[in-house]
Structure formats: C-alpha cells, structure tokens
C-alpha cells in the first residue's frame, strides 16, 4: 500500500514538472494515436514487445531436461505471437530472453540479474528445485514475477515470496498421491507387495521426495527395507543393484534424473532384477517417450507418479504432434514449461501492461483454464496452484498409459508384473 502511495506521489510530482522533451514526445504520441484511429494502416503503430526471461539448465548434467523446458517455453511464446500477441497491449509480442543456469543454482541467480538488467517483465523457470530456489529468491529482490514450471521442492512456495507462482504440484502433493495410489493398486491386486526400497538422487528434489515417502510408506503398512541416495552424475550403479538383489524388495521406487535413471534401469535389467513393480515417483524417465523408444524392453511395465497431461485433451495431442514434428520428445519438462509460459501470458493479458507489480497481481487472481493439465482453473494460494496434481502412468504395449485416477485412465494397471518377466529381488 505504502509503495502505491509513493508511486502516486511520484506520478503527481513528475506530472507537475513536465519537461520540454516529454511534452514533445507526448504530443507526437498523441498525433500518431490520432492518425491511427482515423484509419491509418496499423503498421505505423509501433508494436511493443514484452520481454520474458526463460531460465533453465541447458548445459551441465541437467542439460536434456533444461533444453526440453526451454523448447516448451519457446513454443508457447511462438504460439502466442502467432495468434496476435498480447491483445490488451495492442498486440504486443512476447520476446524470449534466454538464460542458461548451467545446472548450478548460483549461475541461475546471476542469469536472473542479467535478465533484470535487460528489463524482463517476468521470468519462467527453472526446472530443478535447487536452481528454482535461487532464481525465485533473486527475482524477488527485483520484484520480478517468477512462474515456476517444474521445481517440485515445497520450499519454493514456503518462503513467503510474493513474486513466485508454481503451476505444477510440489513433491508433498506428489508423494501423498503416489502413496495413496500405490495402496489402491496393491489392494486391488490382493496386497501382494509388502516391502519397498527407495533409490534417489541427492539434491533437493530427490532427497525431499525420499524423505516424504519414507514417512508415508510405513503408515501405509509398507516395510521400507532401504533408502539409497546417489550423487549426480553416478558413473556406476552396480553396487546399488547388488544391494537391491540382496534386499529383495517387492517394489522399487526411484526418484532421480534422466541419465541416472537409465543407468539404474539398465543395470537392473543386466542383473535380471525385476521386482513386482518399479514405481517411480517423479522419476521423469519412466513417463518419457524417449526412454520408451530407446529401451522398450527395459521400460515395459514401469509405473510412474508424475506430471502428466489429460490424455484426451485435443490441445495436448496437438502440441505433442507439433513437438514430434520438430524432432522433440513430448516430455513433462516441455509441456509444463509450455503451460507455465502460457499462464504468464494470460496474466500479462489481464494486467494489460508489462509492469511487474501489475503482473504479480494478475497472477494472484489467476483463474486460467485454457490448458491441458488435469488441474482445473488455476487458483494460487501462497504461490501454489491449488488444483495441481500428478497422474499415475504405466508403460504398456509400447505406449505410456494413464492408470490413475479413473477419470483420466486409459488402461488398467498391470500389477504385479507378469511372473515371466519377474526375476530376482
């Protein structure tokens, strides 16, 4: 409130002291506006642009996921510009300012500084939780609205930052849903699974997810036999798989990034470790068309509780076709970043200005429903979209099928996996 009063005072002060230059430019502006309204060709009107920062880890160990996010953000911007830009700002075009966090939080923060210097209206980013923590914090310092695309750590929205808005679910929601659905799947099959083992990467995302699961699984009557953490990159998964073989869990829950996931899955195949289920929680790879295409044998029957789109929504299917035409995989990074950018564009549209404070206000009151995620209209409380939730998927018959909840399901879960493919563990 105080800020607004100061701003009004400043406006009053500046209006009293109008310089000659301001007067001339104002008069010129009025003349141009007048001419345009008289039916002068639209080209005379200077089209403004609104700068949007896209900060992602496009190099370093998260490069694949970061590049997918960037591609999603750019596709959204391209689509908005192709359909007339921001209508409330006279068709202002969105201009992407690209930042590379190099898979390091501190670099992410310095990219935000650069974006602030070039005057971005808002930022979309930053894929990884650890990077997102740094970029949202730094953006808050400059009052830049920051729409979070993935970053599942709940610390992202628990620090009281007014500028931060997360479209997707946090790992608290995902872990709760994952355990609830695992119980349902297990119950429906006659409760064959009793023991679980968690394998997670050691940054904020994996550690936080594992911590939540570790407390929720015993409450759901599962015996947690071990929790193994590993660094990024891990060059060798043999030891971890040896431990899995020795402990023989019924279900394995991985929570890690792409490269480590494929090494783990391949090493498990190598040692013929096939438990009743591989049930990823935000495993990423398990609901990846890339993984499915490259390793159909390894991928078969893997379940995942992750960010996923409404499988019957025409807009999702159209975006998937478009991405595949460009040689891109339709991964959650791509479609979440796409949606996050469109959510931001909707806020700018409603704000009718590139003013940061106005965009933050528009995001706070956002009820955007023109998306294909199973969230319903957006509603932000303390920066978290309340309807955001994950879906359960399983790789079946060479495709990724939704198995939970019923309203989005395209197949029934196969659990436990057929005895012919079950091996050790």
């Amino acid at each position: 409130m105080r800020k607004k009063v100061t701003a009004m005072r400043q406006t009053k002060r500046s209006s009293k002291a109008t310089s000659r230059r301001q007067f001339v430019s104002g008069a010129l502006g009025a003349m141009i506006a007048g001419t345009a309204s008289l039916g002068f060709p639209g080209t005379v009107r200077a089209k403004t642009t609104v700068r949007i920062g896209l900060v992602h880890p496009v190099t370093g160990f998260l490069a694949f996921s970061g590049s997918q996010c960037r591609a999603g953000g750019l596709m959204a911007i391209e689509e908005i510009n192709a359909t007339g830009g921001i209508h409330s700002m006279g068709g202002a075009e969105l201009e992407a300012v690209l930042g590379d966090a190099q898979s390091k939080p501190d670099i992410g923060a310095s990219e935000v500084e650069k974006m602030n210097e070039v005057g971005v209206a808002a930022i979309v980013g930053a894929y990884a939780s650890s990077i997102g923590l740094a970029t949202t914090q730094r953006a808050a310092r400059h009052g830049i609205p920051h729409v979070v695309d993935v970053c599942v750590s709940d610390a992202i929205v628990e620090r009281g930052l007014q500028n931060t808005f997360r479209f997707g679910p946090g790992y608290g929601t995902v872990a709760r849903t994952a355990v609830d659905n695992l119980v349902k799947i297990n119950d429906a099959a006659g409760r064959p699974a009793k023991t679980v083992m968690i394998i997670h990467e050691d940054s904020l995302f994996g550690t936080g997810t594992a911590r939540l699961l570790s407390s929720a699984l015993p409450d759901a009557s599962f015996d947690l036999v071990d929790v193994i953490r590993h660094p990024n990159p891990t060059r060798d998964f043999n030891n971890i798989v040896l431990k899995i073989r020795a402990r023989k869990p019924d279900i394995i829950i991985p929570a890690n990034y792409y490269n480590e996931y494929i090494l783990l899955a391949r090493t498990m195949s190598q040692y013929n470790v096939r438990p009743m289920a591989i049930y990823s929680v935000l495993g990423g790879t398990a609901s990846s068309f890339k993984f499915l295409k490259e390793f159909p044998r390894t991928a078969q029957f893997i379940m995942d509780c992750n960010h996923w789109y409404d499988p019957g929504h025409p807009a999702a299917l159209a975006l998937r076709r478009k991405a595949e035409q460009r040689g891109l995989y339709f991964t959650y990074e791509l479609f979440l970043s796409y949606c996050a950018t469109k959510l931001l564009a909707d806020a700018i549209e409603r704000a009718g200005t590139a003013d940061r404070e106005a965009i933050i206000e528009a995001l706070e009151s956002s009820d955007w429903s023109d998306h294909f995620m199973p969230y319903g209209p957006t509603r932000f409380v303390n920066g978290q979209n309340q309807g955001a939730r994950p879906l359960n998927t399983q790789i079946l018959e060479g495709d990724i099928k939704v198995i939970h909840p019923a309203e989005y399901a395209t197949a029934d879960p196969v659990f436990p996996i057929p005895a012919t493919v079950q091996g050790n563990a």
Partner: protein, 290 residues
C-alpha cells in the same frame, strides 16, 4: 551383515570400473605426467571420441569394440594435429599458456558438441550390453570384464613403447631435458605431438570400452576427467603401471566407499586415499623421484 556378502562382488565391480578410469588416465599420464601438459580438454576429447563411437554404431552399424581400429588412428591424428597446429603454436612454449589454450579448446569442443548434437542423452543398445559372467555368487558385467582386460593390455603396450622403442626413449629424453634432447637431434615438436596423439588415441579405446554400458552427452567428459587427474597423480606422474594400479585402486575405493558410506559420501574415500598417498609418498604409488 548384508554388506559383508556384497564385499567381494563390490570389489570386483570396483576393479572393472577402475579399469576404465585407468585407460582414460593412461593417455593423460603420457600428456600430463611425462610432458607436463595440463590438458583440460582431456574430458572433452573423450566426449568427442564417444560421439565418434556412437555415430559409427548408429550410422554404419559398427560394433563399439570393432570401432577400436578406426577410433585409435582417428583420435591419434586429431591429437597430433591439435598439439602441432593449435596448442604448441598458441602457447609459445609457456606452461601457463598451455593451460589456457587447452581450457579454451575444452570450451570450444563442448559448445560445438552442444550445437551439433544438442544436449540429448544418447546411448546404444548392443546384444551383449546386458550380458554377465557368473562366477559363483558373483555376477560381472561382460563389457566391464572386457574393459579390465583391455586396460591391462594397453598398460603393457605403453610400458613396452616407453622402454623398448626409440620413440619411447625420445619421449623420456624430452621429458627429462628438453633442450638437451633438441641438441642431440630429437625433433622435440614431433615428440610432443606424438605423445599427445598417443594420449588422445587412448581416449579412442576408452570411448569404445565405455559406450556399451554408458551414455554420451556433451557434458559426459566431466564425469571422468577429475578422476583421471587423480589417478595420474596417485599412480605417480608418468608411470603407466602406476596409472593402471591407480585406476584400479580408485575404482575399488569408490565401490567400497559407496557400499559402506553410501554412494554420495563414498566419493570422499577417493580423495582421502589421494591425500594419504601424497602425504606418505609424494611421488605417487609408482612415481620416481626426479
């Protein structure tokens, strides 16, 4: 105690992983250990070699192991050319310039790879990728056993090259006394380039051994380069048998560290061991006092 049952499999697994470290370090020990060229581009060149193997497999259907006779000469020529045409010309014989030139090379190669092949993780599927050899209760990955045998063979070949050939003598002479070697008629620039070429050729072999079980991305070199430098210093600068032993010891330390301390904390074991060896044997395990 469960971890006790896993002790032997984990040790064998560490040996096979260490063998790959040793092959990467063998090339580096020639470049860094003998000629004291701090080659920051070692990881980037390994990445380049891995892409070479990947494309030979996907475009021409050449098996990674059969690609060794192609990758070795290609990487040798690349290494020779880089030393002769870029590193030696740009550094003007100053060590600090070499450091910057190789760092610059690494940045250029990494970004070029990112531009050409994107940050996509690529991996090949071979019929033997999931093959294992069973010895009692121990299962060992076949590609890793091949890597272990290859590491021993390459170490012996390098040792023979250095001790039994004129080129080996020339390399040792240049390493000991550059000006003296030049005075007795050794073409120092040629020897430097030959050493660099041989070191990089080693990466060609390492790439062929790695790809059946590992992925390739433009950043993949970082995962191995720090370990390679550690192996070279631990084994003793310029000692090929030292590089082999260093690689194997580090592989086992990493594996057992991971088993007992957890995969994240287990990495500490490598550096604790490294500090201990340097405290009590500053020249490394098999290094000679200068």
């Amino acid at each position: 105690m469960l971890e006790l049952e896993l002790f032997i499999p984990a040790t064998i697994n560490g040996l096979t992983t260490g063998a790959v470290y040793a092959v990467i370090a063998l090339g580096l020990t020639l470049i860094y250990g003998v000629l004291h060229i701090i080659n920051f581009a070692h990881g980037s060149l390994l990445m380049l070699a891995m892409y070479g193997v990947f494309f030979l497999h996907t475009l021409f259907g050449i098996d990674p192991y059969l690609a060794i006779p192609i990758m070795v000469p290609v990487m040798f020529v690349l290494g020779y050319g880089l030393q002769r045409g870029v590193i030696s010309r740009a550094s003007h014989g100053k060590d600090e310039n070499v450091l910057l030139v190789t760092l610059g090379l690494a940045i250029v190669i990494d970004n070029l790879a990112l531009y050409l092949w994107s940050s996509d993780t690529r991996i090949i599927d071979t019929p033997y990728a999931f093959a294992t050899i069973e010895i009692g209760p121990v299962l060992i990955s076949t590609p890793k056993v091949i890597a272990l045998v290859a590491a021993v063979v390459i170490s012996v070949l390098f040792w023979l090259l250095m001790t039994r050939t004129d080129l080996g003598k020339a390399i040792r002479a240049v390493a000991k006394e550059k000006m003296g070697a030049e005075l007795v008629g050794i073409n120092v620039n040629h020897v430097y380039a030959m050493s660099f070429g041989l070191g990089i050729a080693c990466l060609g072999v390492a790439a062929c051994l790695l790809l059946p079980t590992f992925y390739v991305t433009p950043q993949v070199g970082f995962a191995f380069v720090l370990i390679a430098f550690t192996v070279v210093v631990l084994g003793g600068m310029g000692s090929f048998m030292g590089a082999l032993w260093g690689g194997l010891i580090i592989g086992v330390t990493e594996s057992l560290g991971g088993l007992y301390l957890g995969e994240s904390l287990g990495q500490i074991g490598i550096f604790v061991l490294f500090i201990l060896v340097l405290l009590f044997r500053p020249t490394g395990l098999m290094g000679q006092r200068s």
